[in-house]
Amino acid sequence: MTQTITLTINGKKRSDTVEPRMLLIHYLREVAGLTGPHIACETSLCGACTVHVDGKAIKSCSMFAVQADGRNVLTIEGLAADGKLDPMQEAFWNEHALQCGFCTPGMIMTAKQIVERNPKPTEEEIRHGLEGNLCRCTGYQHIVNAVKAAAAKA
């Protein structure tokens, strides 16, 4: 009961043979060696595993790797190009939008989607957009600041 899948992750194509039940998050972390996206819940509520598939932010714990066959996956590791941080990463750093950092990769990927779709989000729109990402450390305020700051720079 295995299948071969081919997908592009952070610009690089790869093929692997997986069980259909293998979750995309496990595939990324354990097969592709990308441990940036994290697993923090099992009910699709926390968003720590958020990555982009074909440009859409999704929870990679709620998608089987076989569903991503042929698609383009972008993870937190794929954001910084040539050692230069993505503006959203830079903003999270500047605004102290993280403490333990565990939710951060997912939070940044969702934040990026918010700004991609709405270049000048209001505080309310940012908070609504972040509903699917839980953070237990920051109280979210610095995260809201970071999203605003990144949007202002874009």
Binding site: L98, C100, F102
Partner: protein, 777 residues
């Protein structure tokens, strides 16, 4: 916005962005689950679905036979390991023997009974379903007050009264105080059980080095060194052959300030199978098997004069302990008693604690650990008293604050408050919300039939845990500061952080002290093979105790640097500043890097001086520190639905000297939001049979970005005299100040109905029922 630093600036006090962040924002940090090792196996633990049951039989045959399964262990196999320790000692404390795997009886849902080990985690998970346990369910009790009633099911058959301990503390003359009182107010107040919910669940990777007979154990813990000492005992290993590594830790909030059965179990498994083993806690296990917080039922009585002067406080505290003691379980309510007078000048107190066993996972330290409960109690009682006396809640507080000239102030509970200016944060917070105007708006709202509430809490807390005689496992902290031959500075701290930003704050302090750039300093922690020893990060202690240890290590180094500087400058009058030694007579100087190189090259040594520039300091603090502050919350209750709208939140905290305001704000925000969680949403709900029915984030509501208000923060700075940095600690302040302010606000909103108290969480339905009943529900 972070500040850009030029080298001549002083770093302490600046909003400097964190030095740990680049690895975290790029996804390259290493948490336990990110560790991969050749030949690594995976463990899944089989747990009790019952709140109490006898294990009649366990059949592991089918699980063993599944291809890929390497081993299955049950309680009998691990009988010699352990027990899971209780580090707290109280007179007459009953301590049940806590096996790492249950042998013949389970006491709570989630109690581990077997471990399945396989070549990958999918197979281990499948095999866990194949372990068959024949259970005989037994009667249970989950409510601590019901557990004390005659005829209740006995959690441990040997102690049918379910009482683990009783504890009495008294100061002053309480009976006299109550006899002289014009008014006595009484209230039952609960602090519900909470799930700490660190975003990273617990996890362990253990590797047995057969040839060396040595174990390396990676764990997501707040206390690597204590864990090592205790695990070595549990596993029968020599302590110097056990290395504990704490990689990146994804939050703790007290829940990783512990030694857990699973940590010893993975050590045991690694030693048995001779392969690396990984166990990552599932979220559901995190709900049912990691310690929980709070679990108080408090009966308060406060005696006062008609003018509002508080004369005495009585407290009967029932602590829900759960089925076992974890590391500090029974000590937590004693912290509540220590802080029961809050920041009020009341010298007559009496407290009685009953620690109660229940069929649930143990409670233990959760952000604030005992102090949020104490603050919630006294701050609610002061509001109840104010209402009784028809006083403004701000006025009654000003009346009772310990006065500025009273420090150091000895409390009736045996503490000495280090320093304080208790009125200052309240004045500032009232100013920030325009308190007087707000009360006028409230009066208008009330005539319009709206429920607008203003809630104040003024809190004090006990931080920088703490002097060793007052802590279960030593209260000192250690640091080693090493100036490398190149002049770069490496700091090794025993206070291993998990999100607090010590790699930045410690570097700020070290760079200032040594006159080097912040990028010249590296802060290392979390590996017992590298860092000499340490106690850990909890109780808002890392900077106040660990930072102070580093400060003293640097002072020792400075003396040595000056000796080398004097030798190199051939002078007997040198000083060290801005990263160089200067001949005070000639003005000639030699930079630190050159001094360091000379000290390691050791062609020539100053008299009575060894080579190298390394100093280790173990600092024993003379006292705790006592931060304080004032929070004001404005709420409005929707009359139709009972929904609570948070309209404003103002927090003014005084945590002593501020090293990095950006980080302090972050700590306050996070703390406040955890307090909001308790006040409004969070609650671990057990049914009578011991099932945790809020067992996932589907039913246990963590605060989300969308349901919290903008937080307005302010600070006053009253340095602590306890440590050379003047810092007090801020990790828990927000949580401690928050919940009573929110409840006071909603009670204030509903006070026209005669509402006097509401227990947390204040769900809309609870509020709606109160409104329906005209405040009488």
């Amino acid at each position: 916005m972070a500040t850009t630093i030029t080298k001549s600036d002083t770093l302490v006090g600046k909003r400097i962005r964190r030095r740990e962040d680049p690895r975290l924002i790029t996804g390259t940090a290493t948490y336990v689950d990110d560790i991969q090792m050749p030949g690594m196996h995976h463990a899944v633990i089989v747990r009790s679905p019952h709140g109490a049951a006898r294990i009649k039989r366990i059949n592991i045959k089918k699980a063993q036979e599944l291809p890929g399964v390497a081993a299955v262990f049950i309680g009998k196999d691990t009988e010699k390991v352990g027990p899971v320790p209780c580090g707290a000692s109280l007179p007459g404390l009953r301590v049940p023997h806590h096996h790492i795997l249950a042998i013949d009886r389970v006491y709570f849902v989630g109690h581990p009974v077997a471990v399945v080990v396989a070549t990958d985690r999918y197979i281990a998970r499948d095999a866990a379903d194949l372990v068959e346990v024949d259970w005989e369910p037994l009667p249970t009790v989950t409510d601590p007050e019901k557990a004390l009633a005659p005829g209740a099911a006995a959690v441990h058959p040997e102690w049918p009264d379910n009482t683990a301990f009783t504890y009495h503390q008294e100061g002053g003359d309480v009976d006299k105080a109550f006899a002289q009182a014009d008014v006595v107010v009484k209230q039952r107040i609960t602090s519900q059980r909470l799930i700490p919910s660190a975003m990273e669940t617990r996890g362990v990777v253990a590797e047995w080095h057969t040839g060396d007979r040595a174990l390396t154990l990676h764990s997501s813990t707040q206390i690597p060194h204590l864990l090592r000492t205790i695990l070595a005992q549990m596993l029968g290993l020599e302590e110097n052959r056990l290395r504990v590594v704490t990689p990146e830790v994804g939050g703790g909030f007290g829940s990783k300030l512990n030694v857990y059965a699973e940590e010893a179990l993975m050590g045991f498994v690694a030693m048995k199978i001779g392969k690396p083993i990984k166990w990552i806690e599932s979220r559901r296990e995190n709900f049912t098997c990691t310690i929980q917080g709070r679990g108080h039922v408090d009966y308060y009585e406060v005696a006062a004069k008609r003018d509002g002067t508080i004369l005495g406080i009585k407290l009967k505290l029932i602590q829900d302990l759960g089925a076992y003691h974890q590391l500090l379980t029974p000590a937590i309510p004693t912290l509540s008693v220590l802080m029961m007078p809050g920041i009020y000048n009341c010298q007559n107190i009496r407290a009685d604690i009953v620690g109660v066993f229940t069929n649930a996972v143990p409670t233990d330290a959760y952000r604030g650990a005992g102090r949020p409960e104490a603050t919630h109690g006294i701050e609610r009682m002061v509001d109840i008293l104010a209402a009784e006396l028809k006083m403004d809640p701000a006025d009654i507080r000003f009346k009772n604050f310990v006065s500025n000239d009273a420090f150091p102030y000895a409390t009736a509970t045996g503490l000495t408050y280090d320093s304080g200016n208790y009125a200052a944060p309240l004045v500032k917070a009232m100013d920030m919300v325009s308190y007087k105007k707000l009360r006028q708006e409230q009066a208008q709202a009330r005539t319009d039939g709206r429920f607008l509430g203003i809630g104040i809490s003024t809190y004090g807390e006990i931080c920088a845990l703490g002097p060793s005689p007052a802590t279960p496992a030593g209260g000192w902290e250690s640091a080693t500061v090493k100036i490398e031959p190149s002049g770069k500075v490496t700091v090794m701290t025993g206070a291993s952080p998990h999100g607090q930003g010590e790699e930045t704050t410690f570097a700020q302090i070290a760079a200032d002290e040594l006159g080097v750039g912040i990028d010249d300093v590296l802060v290392v922690h979390g590996d017992t093979a590298i860092v000499q020893y340490g106690i850990g990060t909890f109780g808002s202690r890392a900077t106040a105790v660990g930072g102070a240890a580093m400060y003293y290590a640097i002072q020792e180094l400075k003396e040595k640097i000056k000796k080398y500087g004097a030798m190199l400058l051939e002078s007997d009058n040198v000083s060290f500043a801005n990263g160089a030694c200067v001949d005070n007579k000639t003005g000639k100087s030699v930079p630190l890097a050159q001094i360091a190189a000379a000290s390691y090259r050791a062609m020539k040594l100053p008299p009575n001086t060894e080579p190298g520039l390394v100093a280790t300091y173990f600092w024993e603090p003379p006292n705790f520190t006592f931060p304080f502050g004032a929070h004001i919350v404005v709420t409005e209750v929707d009359r139709e639905t009972g929904a609570i709208a948070l309209k404003r939140y103002v927090a003014v905290d005084d945590c002593g000297k501020i090293i990095n305001p950006l980080i302090v704000d972050g700590q306050v925000h996070g703390g406040v939001v955890q307090g909001l969680g308790q006040a409004l949403w969070e609650q671990a709900v057990y049914d009578d049979t011991g099932q945790l029915i809020t067992g996932e984030f589907m039913d246990y509501a963590l605060p989300k970005a969308s349901n919290i208000p903008w937080l307005e923060t302010g600070h006053t700075e009253t340095p602590s005299p306890v440590n050379p940095l003047g810092v007090k600690g801020v990790g828990e302040a927000g949580t401690i100040g928050c919940s009573p302010a929110v409840v006071n606000s909603v009670v204030d909103a509903l006070s026209p109905l005669g509402v006097r108290h509401i227990d947390m969480p204040m769900t809309p339905e609870k509020i709606w029922n109160l409104v329906q009943a005209g405040g009488k529900a």
